[in-house]
Symmetry: C2
Subunit: 289 residues, 2 copies
């Protein structure tokens, strides 16, 4: 299976940004990609750098956008993972990923773990997902789609695996503050890659992660802004890196072999040995009674 | 806090092996180590390469051995994590780690996840632990002691963290088969380090892992034997490597700062955002109803 990752920056307007995405999709299709994964909230800027009710307007065209990407998947006969700002009801919005399979909406996932820290004020914009961790069946396999902050939670990846996901997929928007030291930046990037590789390893599943690039100024002036670190990558079932991007715009193509899951799990059979009789404390916030 | 990791090979007899360990402990104490971690089943060979009821004799002196290491901790005024073959009753044995705190037995942990694959026939020798994932309080902090195969299960590390563990500790015995390709060996070693670094990252806890070195022939002739890959290491709360051994015998010393957990969790507050309302499926073997 050939997968394509489109790592890009926000290009001044939604139109210019989507135009660039479509050009990359065309290239990916020319290279016979079966699956195209786009980054988190790929149509616009990463708007969560400050809290402003006016920004909910960005979800205004949600239904049109959803149809648009569904049509793109039809036109090119491919599977696309698109990440959209979902308007569900007045005052109720989600950070959602949609899977379009050759013109069909195969399913969608609402981000379950919502971050909130300086520059990433997502709890203001997004209601936590209420559909759980459900993989999505497509013509190319069962996809475990998660989003960004979910990547720090082994629980999410594990549940997807227990539900038969064959690939884990993370559209993402993460970056550095220029003020941090070079050492701190390296630790952050490295920890981000490491935790996601660990989901591949723990579950013997390939992992696809697509992150944005470019500097986006904080329009509120509260902070300077975020330098999105790219480094989109694909890991194999042992966590080995199959391809990895840099800090610039890039179309990444990788070949993955979901059949390796079977072999890997035969010799390192973690699912056999999980102590499901002793995991109840995982359902607690903290064990201090 | 200064921690010492004693990575060694099995030296022909229990006596010679223990003698070497004691010499290393003396060196570690001279360097003012507060905590000494020994590798899995450090008194003897890794005997699980084949199944033989006669090998339960190796646990015969269990109670004497336990007292011995307790006395060592008293003599040197340090905390020691020792890994022993525990004889609990006729026909009931465990792979256990004991924490001795300056002469006191602070607590012990019975390996919960038991592997079983060619060359690692542990399900024959060890009953699965029945004491859950309970950190152990010592004069230098609350230690989340786990053992080897546990390292592949994010669930174990997470529960230790939820119970207030301040350091995760893994005595280990893992190695290569010479027959595997160089690429496969690299993937195995790298995945082993990656998954354990991920426990540091997911929980913002330092991780200490001590593995044995040396080639141990399979006495049954069923397989050639195991080349234990060493690479003992300490990771900081962001998963960064603070020290890492090679393939030979080594005394590793590292400085860790458990206070970093507080700072790290303030800015990347994963415990705050865990979806404990949506993790119930973690208690299932597989979600196929």
């Amino acid at each position: 299976m050939k997968v394509a990752l489109i790592q890009q920056k926000y290009r001044h307007t939604k139109e210019e940004t989507v135009e660039h995405t479509l050009a990359q999709i065309e290239k990916a299709v020319a290279q016979r990609a079966d699956l195209i994964v786009l980054q988190e909230l790929h149509q616009g800027p990463y708007f969560c750098q400050y809290e402003d009710p006016a920004l909910f307007d960005l979800a205004e065209d949600f239904e049109t956008d959803r149809e648009f990407w569904q049509n793109v998947s039809k036109e090119y006969g491919i599977v696309i993972v698109a990440s959209l700002f979902e308007r569900r009801a007045p005052g109720l919005y989600h950070n959602s990923a949609f899977v379009f399979d050759k013109g069909r909406c195969a399913g969608f996932y609402r981000k379950m773990h919502i971050p909130d820290d300086p520059g990433f004020y997502e709890k203001f914009y997004f209601a936590p997902g209420d559909r759980g961790f459900e993989p999505i069946d497509t013509s190319i396999g069962r996809l475990g789609v998660l989003i960004c902050w979910d990547q720090w939670f082994p629980e999410a990846a594990r549940i997807m695996a227990l539900k038969g996901a064959q690939i884990l997929i993370y559209p993402t928007a993460i970056g550095w503050f220029d003020e941090d030291s070079q050492e701190e930046k390296e630790r952050q990037l490295e920890s981000w890659i490491t935790i996601q590789r660990s989901h591949a390893i723990a579950n013997a599943l390939p992992v696809i992660t697509v992150n944005r690039v470019g500097f986006e100024k904080d329009p509120s002036g509260g902070l300077n802004g975020i330098r999105f670190w790219g480094n989109s990558f694909v890991a194999g079932v042992q966590g080995e890196i199959l391809c990895r991007g840099g800090l610039e715009e890039e179309l990444l193509i990788a070949q993955i072999d979901p059949k390796r899951t079977e072999n890997q799990r035969r010799i390192w059979p973690f699912l056999r040995d999980r102590r499901v009789d002793a995991y109840e404390d995982l359902l607690k916030r903290f064990c201090d009674d």
